[in-house]
C-alpha cells in the first residue's frame, strides 16, 4: 500500500475576524502531525476545515492537497479523509457488522467478507450481529478504527481519540491505532492536549497558543 502526502498550504482560520491559527505543512504517508494547544484555540476547526465541514461562522483560506489533488472544492464525502472523534460514535441503530458495511465503498467486491476480516483482525470475530451498545469501551474503539479503514481513506484526522478511554486501555489502543495507521501508510493529523499522545505518535508537533 503506497500512500500520498497530505499538504496544508498557508491555511488560515479565523472566527468573527479574529485569527485563530495558521498552518503550513506537509505530512508524509505513515507520518503523524500532532497539533497541541489549550481548548478554544481552534484545533478542532483545523480538522473541520480539512475534512470539509467547517461551520459558516468561521472563515478560512489556504489549500489542502492529497498528493497532487486539491481538495478545497470537494464535499466532505469525496475528499477521502477519515476522521476519528473523541467518542467511537458507532451508529446505534446498526449492528456492529452493519456499521462496518456502511463504510465499505460500493465498488468494492466481497464487501461482507471485508467486514468479517476486519472484525477478525481486531479479535472481534463473531461480534458482527451484536448491538454496538453491548461492546466494551476498547472494543468500540477498535470497531471505530476498523470502520475508518474500511472506508479506504487517503489520510486520517484524529480528534483527541483517546481522551475518553480509561487509563489502562488508553496505552493499548493508542499503540494499536498508530501502528495500524503507519502500516496503512496514511498521513495523519492528531489533535490533542495529552503530551503522551504526542509522544506515542512519534511525529512532529505544532504547539498553538
Amino acid at each position: 500500500m503506497s500512500g500520498v502526502c497530505l499538504t496544508l498550504k498557508d491555511v488560515h482560520i479565523s472566527l468573527h475576524g479574529k485569527a485563530l491559527l495558521q498552518v503550513n505543512t506537509r505530512i508524509e504517508p505513515g507520518a503523524t502531525l500532532t497539533v497541541m494547544g489549550p481548548s478554544g484555540i481552534g484545533k478542532s476547526s483545523l480538522l473541520a476545515y480539512v475534512a470539509g465541514f467547517l461551520a459558516s461562522d468561521f472563515s478560512a483560506s489556504g489549500e489542502i492537497f492529497l498528493g497532487e489533488r486539491c481538495l478545497n472544492s470537494l464535499p466532505a464525502e469525496q475528499r477521502g479523509i477519515g476522521l476519528l472523534f473523541q467518542d467511537p460514535l458507532l451508529f446505534p441503530q446498526l449492528s456492529v457488522a452493519q456499521n462496518l458495511l456502511f463504510a465499505v465503498p460500493r465498488h468494492v467486491s466481497h464487501r461482507q467478507q471485508q467486514v468479517d476480516q476486519a472484525l477478525e483482525a481486531v479479535g472481534l470475530k463473531g461480534f458482527g450481529d451484536r448491538d454496538p451498545a453491548t461492546l466494551s469501551g476498547g472494543q468500540k474503539a477498535r470497531v471505530a478504527l476498523q470502520r475508518l479503514l474500511l472506508s479506504q481513506p487517503k489520510a486520517v484526522l484524529l480528534d483527541e481519540p483517546f481522551s475518553r478511554l480509561d487509563a489502562h486501555l488508553r496505552q493499548d489502543i493508542r499503540q494499536h491505532v498508530f501502528q495500524t495507521l503507519r502500516d496503512a501508510a496514511l498521513p495523519t493529523i492528531l489533535v490533542t492536549h495529552d503530551v503522551d499522545d504526542a509522544a506515542a505518535s512519534g511525529g512532529s508537533v505544532i504547539e498553538l497558543s
Binding site: A48, A51, F53, S56, E77, Q93, D131
Partner: protein, 560 residues
C-alpha cells in the same frame, strides 16, 4: 429542491392568511361588487356597532383572550416551581402528552358532562348531601360571563403550555440555578420562581400568543360551553356568514376584522402587562423573600395541577361512561344499565367521517413532515443557524382562525373552487405545519452534527447519510411530530367546516354538530372517537420506535 423548501413553507403558511385577511378588508368597508355593494364607507361598521349585544360579544372574546393564558401560565409556573427536581415532572410529562392529543371539543363535552346541573359532580353529592332529587336550576353551562368556556379552554391549554415548558427547561440548567439560589438561603420554590421562571418565560411567549389567539376566537369550545345570549364574537361571525341574507356577509367581514383587532389588542395588552409585571417581579425578587409563602405555594402548585389534570381525566372518563350508558336518571351516580345502543346507532354513520378524518390527518401531516424535514435538512446541510424569517410560519397560529378562514372561503367561492377534501386538507396543513415544525425543529437541530460528519468522512453522500443515519436516529421525534400533526388535524373544526362547505364530515364536525342535538350517548361516542384517534397516534409514536429498535439498546432510551 431543498433550497426552495423554506420559501415554499413560508409562502404556504402566510399567503393564504394574507389572502384571507385581504378578502374581508373591502367588504368590511362596504365594497362587495358581487352583491351590488359598490359604495365605500363606514356604514357596515355603524351597523355592526348598533347590533344588539355586540359590545358584550367583543368583551367576552377579549376577556377570554387574556384570562385563559394568564390562568394557564400561572398554574403551569406554580406547578413547575413546586415540583422542580422531583419525580413529578417526568411523571407529568408522560401524562401530559396524551392529554394534549385530546381535541378541544372532546374535552369541552367531557367538562359539560361533569359540571352541568345534571352532571356528574352534583350527582355525586345528590341526594345524600344536597337533598336534590332533581337537578338544581343553576346557570353553569353557557353562563353569560363565559366562565365555563374559559375553564374549558384553560383545561386544554395547560397541557400545551406544560409540554412546551418541559421541552424548554433542559436548556436552562434549572437544577443548577435552583441549587445556587438555595445555597443563598432561598427555599426551593422561591428559588425556582426567582431564578428559573424569568429565564423560562421568554421561551413560552410564542406558545402564549398562540393561546391568546385561540382563546379569543375559538368557535367549537364556545359553541359547546360558551354564552348564548349573546354568544362570543367568533360564533356570531359564523352565524352572519351563513345567514341566508347574503348582505350579512358585509357585517361578518367587519366583525372578522374586529375579531382580528381584538386578538391583536389582547396581545398588545399582554406585552404591555409583561413590562409592568417584569418590573414588579424584579422588585419582589430583590426584596430578598426567601421563605415567605413557601408552604402555601407548595400546596397550591401541586394541588391545582392535580385538580386541573384530574378534571380533564374525569371528563374523559365521563365520555367513556356516557358512551356505554343506558338510562341514567338524576341523581343516580352511575347509569342504571349499560348498553351498546349508542355505538350501534353511530356505527353506520361512522365510516365516512372516520375515513375523512384519517385521510386528512395522514395526508396533511405527511405533507407537513416532508416540508418541515426539507427545511430543517436544508438548514443542517448549509450549516447555518435557523433563518430569522422562519417566525413567519407561526402566523396561522397568531391570526384568529375565524378572521382569515372566512375570508379564504369567500375567495375560494369567488374562484369557484369546489369545496372538498383537497381544500380542507390544504386548510388543515396551515395549522399542522407550524405544530410539526414546533415539535420537530428542536430534536432535529439537537442531533449531534458529528453523526453527519462521520458519515461524510466514511464516504457517504448527504442523501445516503439521511436515509441510513439521520432518519433512523430521528425516528422517535419524527413519529412524535407525526402524531402531533395528526392530532392537530383531527382537532380542526372551523377549517373543516368552512373550506369543506359542510360536505366534508370529520369526527370533529360530527361531534360538534350533535353538540346541542344529539343524545349524551351519541355525543360521547363521537367525542370519544375524536379523542381516541389522536391518543392512539401518540401511543403508536411512542411504541413503534421502541419496538423497531428493541434490539438496539441506545435507541430505546429516547423519550420524546
Amino acid at each position: 429542491m431543498l433550497r426552495a423548501a423554506p420559501w415554499l413553507m413560508i409562502a404556504l403558511l402566510t399567503l393564504p392568511v394574507l389572502a384571507g385577511l385581504s378578502a374581508i378588508l373591502l367588504p368590511a368597508f362596504g365594497y362587495l361588487p358581487a352583491l351590488q355593494h359598490n359604495g365605500f364607507g363606514l356604514m357596515v361598521w355603524r351597523e355592526l356597532l348598533e347590533t344588539p349585544g355586540i359590545g358584550r360579544s367583543a368583551g367576552l372574546s377579549l376577556s377570554a383572550a387574556l384570562l385563559t393564558p394568564l390562568l394557564s401560565l400561572m398554574l403551569v409556573m406554580l406547578f413547575l416551581a413546586s415540583t422542580s427536581g422531583t419525580r413529578w415532572a417526568s411523571a407529568m410529562r408522560r401524562l401530559v402528552a396524551p392529554l394534549l392529543a385530546v381535541p378541544h371539543a372532546a374535552a369541552a363535552f367531557g367538562l359539560a358532562f361533569l359540571i352541568a346541573p345534571s352532571g356528574f359532580l352534583l350527582r355525586l353529592i345528590s341526594p345524600e348531601l344536597s337533598g336534590w332529587q332533581r337537578p338544581p336550576d343553576l346557570l353553569i353551562l353557557n353562563d353569560p360571563l363565559g366562565l365555563t368556556m374559559m375553564l374549558g379552554l384553560v383545561l386544554k391549554e395547560i397541557p400545551f403550555l406544560l409540554l412546551m415548558a418541559l421541552a424548554a427547561l433542559p436548556q436552562l440548567n434549572a437544577d443548577q440555578r435552583v441549587n445556587m439560589a438555595r445555597s443563598l438561603g432561598y427555599r426551593p420554590i422561591l428559588a425556582w420562581l426567582w431564578t428559573v421562571a424569568p429565564a423560562l418565560y421568554p421561551l413560552l411567549r410564542l406558545p402564549l400568543f398562540a393561546v391568546i389567539a385561540f382563546a379569543s376566537a375559538t368557535v367549537d369550545v364556545a359553541l359547546i360551553l360558551g354564552p348564548t345570549l349573546p354568544p362570543t364574537l367568533s360564533v356570531r361571525i359564523i352565524g352572519w356568514f351563513s345567514d341566508p341574507d347574503l348582505n350579512q356577509r358585509l357585517l361578518a367581514s367587519a366583525a372578522a376584522l374586529l375579531q382580528l383587532m381584538i386578538t391583536l389588542s389582547a396581545i398588545g395588552v399582554w406585552i404591555a402587562a409583561e413590562k409592568i409585571v417584569a418590573r414588579l417581579y424584579r422588585a419582589l425578587l430583590l426584596s430578598g423573600h426567601r421563605r415567605h409563602g413557601h408552604a402555601l405555594l407548595n400546596v397550591l402548585g401541586k394541588s391545582l395541577m392535580v385538580i386541573t389534570l384530574g378534571t380533564l381525566l374525569i371528563s374523559l372518563l365521563l365520555l367513556v361512561i356516557h358512551a356505554f350508558a343506558g338510562p341514567w336518571r338524576f341523581p343516580d351516580n352511575l347509569p342504571a344499565a349499560w348498553t351498546l345502543q349508542h355505538w350501534q346507532s353511530v356505527g353506520p354513520l361512522l365510516l365516512a367521517p372516520l375515513g375523512n378524518t384519517l385521510l386528512l390527518g395522514l395526508v396533511s401531516t405527511a405533507v407537513a413532515v416532508l416540508l418541515v424535514v426539507a427545511v430543517l435538512e436544508h438548514e443542517s446541510r448549509q450549516g447555518r443557524k435557523p433563518a430569522q424569517i422562519l417566525w413567519a410560519i407561526y402566523i396561522p397560529l397568531l391570526v384568529p382562525q375565524v378572521a382569515f378562514l372566512y375570508g379564504l372561503t369567500l375567495l375560494l367561492e369567488q374562484l369557484r373552487w369546489q369545496p372538498g377534501l383537497l381544500m380542507v386538507g390544504f386548510a388543515h396543513s396551515l395549522f399542522v405545519v407550524p405544530y410539526v415544525y414546533l415539535s420537530l425543529a428542536e430534536p432535529y437541530r439537537r442531533l449531534d452534527p458529528r453523526w453527519q460528519q462521520l458519515a461524510a468522512t466514511l464516504g457517504a453522500s448527504p442523501n445516503r447519510t439521511w436515509w441510513h443515519i439521520k432518519l433512523p436516529l430521528l425516528l422517535a421525534p419524527l413519529a412524535t411530530a407525526f402524531a402531533v400533526g395528526v392530532a392537530v388535524s383531527i382537532g380542526q373544526y372551523l377549517a373543516t367546516l368552512l373550506t369543506g362547505a359542510g360536505r366534508v364530515s370529520t369526527l370533529t364536525t360530527e361531534a360538534v354538530a350533535l353538540a346541542s342535538g344529539g343524545t349524551r350517548g351519541t355525543i360521547a361516542v363521537w367525542a370519544l372517537l375524536q379523542a381516541a384517534v389522536p391518543m392512539l397516534g401518540f401511543a403508536m409514536a411512542i411504541m413503534l420506535p421502541r419496538l423497531w429498535w428493541r434490539k438496539r439498546r441506545d435507541m430505546t432510551g429516547q423519550l420524546t
